[in-house]
Amino acid sequence: MSPVLRQVFLGLVLVLCSSAFGASSLGAQLCRGGRPEALGWMALTAGVAAADASVIGGEVVWRFEQGLQLFGDADITAYPRPDPTRGRVAVGAGIELFVGERFGVCTTVAFERERMGDLRAQRIPIGLAMGWSVPLAGVERHIGFTLEPFYVHGHARVARWSHGSDFVSGRAGMIYVARRLLLGFEYENAFDDDARWQTIARVGVTFN
């Protein structure tokens, strides 16, 4: 089986197995810091990353019944010349494991593809997203905090040579929602030889 097919298969198996643990109550919005009653959000992201890079991208999160949410995001990382630009797209799912009134925990699984020059990479990050939501005074305002450690299984290819690697990474962030406006920032760090990090800000709208 090719590396790409193997990783897609693995991702599907993980999503199906994870769904066995999912409760069917509220939406899986809390674990990513969103407003519990919203259907999801759409946002633009921009920030900085390791190696003097700048990042720009976008993301969509959509909540379904049965404690399931799907998300997709894409970004472009621009490095100073002569280094090439890095492009990344990811699709994934979050499944609610636990949800309280203001606290939620989800397991997340995604499939990522990345390209930088002749480097092609596929990765499967498997995370545990924890979110805490605090309502603020006033109408429809709240602030959410998130923490998501994840384990990443990856496969990279340069021309006909390839290499597999696994590493641990994590992100922490904050989201502020006022009516339908969503603002936030997030810091992500990989704990491997690349020690890649990025900090992004996001601005978007929630779906009601």
């Binding site: 693995l10 198996v13 390791a50 020059g117 002749d118 021309a159 040579w161 290499h163 990989a190 690349d194």
Partner: protein
């Protein structure tokens, strides 16, 4: 619990089944920088990367013939050719990755006394190319 066990076994099997034995640094997610070991082999005013293209091609076509047998020999040849091609079109990040792969494949070749002169020559070409790329990328 049985499902969890199957899941863990499946994941472990997949995660452990795909390892490169040469040059893992060539697959990094950050922009490539030549290996410090390779750059440190030479200490001189660097050539331009373009000045190394003929030497890379000569290394790929002539010098590797005496070095060893397939398939590592082909890895060295192909990676050096691709490095020369990428330097020609200004893709230094890719050239850097191919230099790393060629050096890793060269190190993995079996020893044979008759091949030492050519191996040393190829190593020198790769070191000079890494030195040139390193200087160009720091500008």
């Amino acid at each position: 619990m049985r499902r969890v066990g199957v899941l863990v076994l499946l994941f472990a099997a997949t995660a452990c089944s795909d390892r490169s034995i040469v040059a893992p640094e060539s697959y990094g997610r950050r922009p490539c920088r030549p290996s410090a070991d390779l750059v440190a082999m030479v200490d001189l005013v660097p050539f331009t990367p373009e000045a190394m293209r003929s030497a890379l091609r000569h290394g790929a076509d002539e010098m590797t013939r005496a070095v060893s047998v397939e398939p590592r020999q082909r890895d060295v040849q192909d990676a050096m050719r691709l490095a020369a091609d990428d330097i020609g079109i200004g893709h230094y990040d890719s050239a850097c990755r191919f230099v790393g792969i060629a050096f890793g494949a060269l190190r993995a070749l079996p020893d044979s006394a008759g091949s030492y002169p050519d191996r040393d020559g190829i190593r020198l070409i790769l070191a000079l190319t890494a030195h040139a790329l390193s200087a160009e990328m720091q500008r």
